[in-house]
């Protein structure tokens, strides 16, 4: 265990300090490799298929909607969370929370999302919207 002194790793400048030790660099490499591997695995899982928005409240999947193509009508729905009703709009720009009873309104301010892996979470109201599937695939024919 290192001692409690202040001068254990004394460095002259911020630039020197940014270099870190070999242990620090090894830890950074391990962390980055793990993160990128997880990222690719997740992307491979959720990027397949047409673009869909999934809406959850707590443990429950409430609804799954395809993202409308340009020119198609927008979908607007009211979802009941722990605090009250959140209004969710799904249009050609993606999914967004239009109104929310929460105090911070961070979910509303985060705007519309349309990329696979994006999500909008309103933690106080326990509402989650996740997006999966690629936006491009909605222009392709889907053969069943």
């Amino acid at each position: 265990m290192p001692s409690l002194n202040l001068d254990a790793p004394v460095r002259q400048s911020m630039f020197d300090a940014l270099k870190g030790t070999w242990t620090d660099r090894l830890l950074l490499c391990l962390a980055l490799i793990s993160i990128f591997t997880a990222w690719f695995v997740i992307q491979a899982q959720i990027a397949a298929g047409p673009a869909m928005a999934e809406i959850y409240h707590g443990k429950t999947l409430l609804a799954t909607y395809p993202l409308p193509k340009p020119g198609e009508a927008a979908i607007s729905l009211q979802v009941e969370g722990d605090l009250g009703m959140s209004e969710i709009v799904i249009d050609e720009h993606g999914a967004r929370i239009a109104t929310s009873p929460c105090s911070s309104q961070r979910c509303v301010l985060s705007g519309a999302h349309s990329h696979a892996g994006d999500m909008i979470a309103c933690v106080p109201n326990r509402i989650l919207i996740t997006l999966r599937g690629s936006a491009e695939s909605k222009f392709d024919a889907i053969v069943e």
Partner: protein
């Protein structure tokens, strides 16, 4: 005239070194609370992402005063900070508490047991564990969906960057403090 009472009060005065330690801890706590409130007022950089400057103070408390000071500072910072931003016992408070405490524990473990690590590496592990703990807290208490974790990788990369820079800042601050013998 009986001076016994005066004398006993004089004798009960705590030693200067103890007072200095307490004053230093309080100074760090005030700095941490200030940074906590400042970070809460920043525009959102993404869901639950903050630069982690308040955690930098936890790291300073750890190297300057030891593990107990770091844990109590992280706890006190989240509780008192939430008085100022009005989030006591809200989900924001729980998420901040989970992140702050986990980061403090992980940084203590890294500082004790990983050989050759500097404050940069400790801060990196602290930042990563802070972000992970926030997601685990949300998944356990509020939105029980594994889909939440899909958003984690890009945020963890941002955590790597912020953790590394904060660690370098902590090294620089410690070196300056040691140099000036504060």
């Amino acid at each position: 005239m009986n001076h016994t009472s005066h004398k006993s009060i004089g004798l009960m005065r705590p030693p200067l070194a103890e007072l200095e330690t307490k004053a230093r801890w309080l100074a760090l706590l005030l700095l941490a609370i200030g940074l906590h409130v400042f970070e809460a007022s920043l525009p959102s950089l993404g869901p639950w992402f903050k630069p982690g400057l308040a955690n930098l103070v936890t790291l300073l408390a750890l190297v300057m005063m030891g593990p107990r000071a770091a844990i109590t500072l992280a706890l006190a910072r989240v509780v008192v900070g939430s008085f100022f931003i009005g989030t006591l016992f809200t989900p924001t408070f729980m998420i901040a508490m989970a992140g702050g405490l986990t980061a403090a524990l992980v940084m203590i473990a890294a500082w004790r047991w990983i050989p050759g690590i500097s404050l940069v590496g400790i801060s990196l592990l602290g930042a990563l564990s802070h972000m992970l703990a926030q997601f685990v807290c949300v998944e356990a208490l509020f939105i029980q969906q594994a889909a939440l974790y899909y958003a984690l990788p890009p945020l963890l990369i941002l955590s790597c960057i912020s953790g590394w820079i904060n660690g370098a800042l902590a090294e620089y601050i410690c070196a300056r403090l040691a140099h000036e013998k504060i």
